[in-house]
């Protein structure tokens, strides 16, 4: 194993990690806002990937161009899911935690079933795109352009989210609702609107990730499952509900995954992630950047 191989795989790991972060940020945002874990998060990713695929297949829209469209569509989808389903699940008088788990878990199963029925279980892919198949090299390290652009989009999206939360009125309303959802009515804010906005935003972020990933991953109804599992680990690693933590957690997961692949056979590449996760859970159960 040479230094070049190590750097090469860490660089690829970083790129993948930034995407893991982008997937996880949406999950962390929703959880932080209202203590609801969206167990359909992977299926949201799957839907976004199909969105990019169909835009390509029917309208020849390049995934890069499709990304903002898919993100906008997912924003609406997420807000509607909150308003039509999750909102009612939150009114449960007893066992509210269980009700929320079963609701979003049920939604996941429904979405997968519908995808299998309407989209068929076939593996799809986007064979040609503007960036597809291209690589760039930096001092002997080769990076695939789609992944590199995906990573840059992820950084940009995170920057935009950070600005939105810290600098805008809606962002401040989001933070206030996160602090005390029962108190925002005191300043005239409708918490249901903020929750819908949170679901929209979280879904748009995973939508962006899905559209980017559609150009270099196979698309099939169960594709969300493995990424969702990583997203839950990422969110728990970074600290539940911490948007910054989820992003940092994503990068760590990407790097750990790449390092494991260097040492162990590729089929065991996930072992490292779960080992690090267990370590964090034992030593710092609230996650690396968690505040509770």
């Amino acid at each position: 194993m040479t230094a070049a191989t190590i750097i090469q795989s860490l660089a690829s790991g970083l790129l993948m990690g930034l995407l893991y972060g982008l997937i996880a940020v949406g999950l962390a945002l929703i959880f932080g806002l209202m203590d609801v874990t969206n167990f359909a998060h992977g299926e949201f990713l799957m839907l976004a990937m199909y969105g990019a695929f169909f835009l390509f297949a029917f309208f020849a829209v390049d995934p890069l161009l499709a990304a903002p469209l898919v993100a906008a569509g997912m924003f609406v989808f997420g807000a509607v899911i909150y308003l039509l389903i999750v909102r009612f699940a939150m009114r449960a008088k007893a066992n509210i935690g269980m009700v929320q788990i079963f609701t979003t878990f049920g939604l996941a199963i429904l979405m997968r079933g519908l995808a299998q029925f309407f989209f068929t279980p076939d593996y799809r892919s986007i064979p040609t795109s503007w960036l597809g198949g291209k690589t760039v090299s930096f001092g002997g390290i080769f990076l695939p352009v789609p992944q590199l652009v995906g990573a840059l989009i992820s950084v940009a999206a995170f920057g935009a989210l950070f600005f939105f939360i810290k600098k805008t009125d809606f962002g401040r309303a989001l933070e206030a609702t996160r602090e005390d959802a029962g108190a925002v009515a005191l300043v005239g804010i409708d918490k249901n609107k903020v929750f819908a906005l949170g679901w929209g935003l979280g879904s748009a972020l995973v939508g962006l990730a899905g559209a980017v990933m559609a150009s270099f991953f196979y698309i099939y109804p169960d594709v969300g499952a493995s990424f969702a599992l990583i997203a839950y680990v990422t969110v728990a690693l970074g600290g539940f509900g911490s948007v910054f933590g989820a992003f940092a957690g994503g990068i760590i997961v990407g790097l750990v995954e790449a390092s494991t692949a260097l040492i162990l056979p590729p089929s065991l590449k996930s072992v490292g992630i779960y080992a690090v996760y267990l370590l964090v859970v034992f030593i710092r159960p609230r996650g690396l950047f968690g505040s509770i």
Binding site: D169, R172, E175, A176, E179, V184, A185, L186, V187, I189
Partner: protein, 234 residues
Amino acid sequence: MLSVHEVTTAYQGLVAISSVTIEVAKGEIVAVCGANGAGKSTLIKTIAGAERPRSGTVTFDGEQINGVPQHLITARGIAYVPENRRLFPRLSVGDNLRLGSYMYRGKPDRDEPLKLVFELFPRLSERLEQRAETLSGGEQQMLAIGRALMTRPRLLMLDEPSQGIMPKLVDEIFQAVVKIRDMGMTVLIVEQRMSEVLEIADRAYILQTGRVQMQGNAAEILGNPDVRKAYLGL
């Protein structure tokens, strides 16, 4: 301005206030007093829209407001400072105040009430960057009132503003309430510290086990020998 007519509110089947009728006229400070568990907080929560009455009506400026969602009641001009203040603890003092004027976002004069808030509570202006949770109890109460004033209320409702605050600051807060009234707002204040609040109030209601026991001019109630014996220990 505000009229609560025959309102009954229950919590999980237990009646907390029953057939309560009170009136608040524009420009008044009205105090609602009574022992713990008399239903004072329930009354104020019912007006604010945080609790729904089982029967009766709440009318504000001629319009019925019971049944209106809480955030829309705030928008109509009733600001409510709850007993435990409900600040946004990890946000800064400045952000808490700015959230108060959230309804006026995009308007050029959005932060106009800020001058008034700093005039009433100068120490808030020195702590704008601090997290709300790092303030003392008295300062938190000031911030809660300040945030409420940022919503530009016509009626300000305070639930036990003196709770958990050192005596010197209680005085400061009560003096601020008088100034707020003098600026043209109306104040409804729920308070257990009867003798102090009756000093600043125009009229008062005394609640006992969920019913209005006595009502009238604050000075008269303060001078009533029965009240002095039963509530003030004099």
